[in-house]
Symmetry: C2
Subunit: 214 residues, 2 copies
DNA sequence: AATTAAATACCGACTGGTTGGTATGTATTC
DNA sequence: GAATACATACCAACCAGTCGGTATTTAATT
């Protein structure tokens, strides 16, 4: 269906609106009507593209993976030679994204899965896909850094990759609880700082040896 | 209002039901009617004790602070002499609590604040109180451990205390996304393991790290 | 190139059930 | 007797989802 380029379809407008509205109000509190008026489309358009509200939730999670995936692919840190540098640059990049108001830098799938993990299995799965596929890219660099240093710790590359996502998701919750924009950003950023320090330490200190970090 | 001891009032029954139902379905998706039937009381009882649904949300957050506060006060790790041991024992205790099904070990206020931070300021504030007051108890031990070792790092005791809460909240989100009970618990526990390792490393004070001259 | 058929992309009024909340009543406690 | 602690019936607004209709695009046929 090649439409006029630059002209967004109703489906795209609805998905864009979903990212904003759901991150602001949550999934359950977001009504189909509100989504439609935010997107500037009618209810008929909504139910033409999505069988029901849950199917929009799944599509929104997938769309989120696309949008954020493109953001991280375009990020500059992939060029670095040392895999550990790439990991740390990723963390720095995540910290740099903590800007503006809370609904703008928080994670759609982290928000949605909290509300739907028991009541909407298809949405839960879509959110899990989004998180784990993102973590998998990081896991590759973590494994490379471990191999390069000959590290064989009692934790896996996967667990550390998921841990980074846990810290970020938790930082978002702290920011939401804080409320005010500036202090919320600060609190989230400090958690990311701790995460960065952990990664430095855990890669710097194989049993016994000490190494101060730059 | 001293009633027959052992006989729960409608208010208590509603608050107990709120902890379970809201953690399972989220705040917005939990209807007043459902709360009442889960608690075995009528709607009249609900609106006798709470002006509106949001006021129950606030009361539930406060109640959550009471219940969990009592849990941690009774925990055995307070006896330890070394403040760092107390911190690590706290983390171990949090890890030990990761048992059973997801709605049973996840956090009420972390769930609620995600949905309400923009739409219900009073609930957001109650959730913030709950998180920060809990973190404050940990912060005291962290500060004591820092003082004992003469550590003057570029992070504050408060930021590390909040970071522990971020990791836990993030671990809950990962567990919710994972779905299946066993693997969900495992993923959350591994994040707590990383947190414990970070605290050990950051207090290990290797040569080259900042130390005060006192 | 013109005509037609069929699929796609909407539109917006409508529906039946659910929602948070109210009004009015009564039984019990202080 | 007055406040507290419920109970029940009720309501207007809102909810997700439906349905018949129309405009537009694509494909097939002539």
């Amino acid at each position: 269906m090649p439409m006029l380029p630059g002209k967004k379809t109703s489906k795209e407008k609805l998905l864009d609106a979903a990212l904003t509205v759901i991150r602001t109000k949550g999934y359950s509190a977001t009504s189909v009507d509100e989504l439609c008026s935010a997107a500037g489309v009618t209810k008929g358009a909504f139910f033409h593209h999505f069988k029901n509200k849950d199917e929009l939730g799944v599509a929104a999670a997938d769309y989120w993976s696309e949008v954020t995936g493109a953001l991280f692919v375009d990020a500059p840190y992939h060029d670095l030679d040392d895999p550990l540098d790439r990991i740390l640059a990723y963390v720095d990049f995540r910290k740099a994204l903590l800007q503006g108001r809370v609904p703008e830098f928080t994670c759609l799938v982290g928000t949605m899965v909290q509300e739907t993990y028991e009541t909407a299995p298809s949405i839960r799965e879509a959110c899990q896909r989004s998180i784990t596929s993102h973590a998998a890219k990081l896991e590759a660099d973590i494994q490379a850094a471990m191999d390069q240093r000959g590290l064989t710790p009692d934790w896996s590359a996967r667990s550390l990759a998921l841990h980074t996502q846990a810290v970020l998701q938790g930082a978002f919750i702290l920011a939401k609880a804080e409320g005010g924009a500036d202090s919320a950003v600060e609190i989230a950023a400090e958690s990311v700082d701790h995460l960065r320090r952990y990664i430095e330490l855990v890669f710097a200190a194989p049993a016994g040896s000490t190494r101060s970090t730059a």
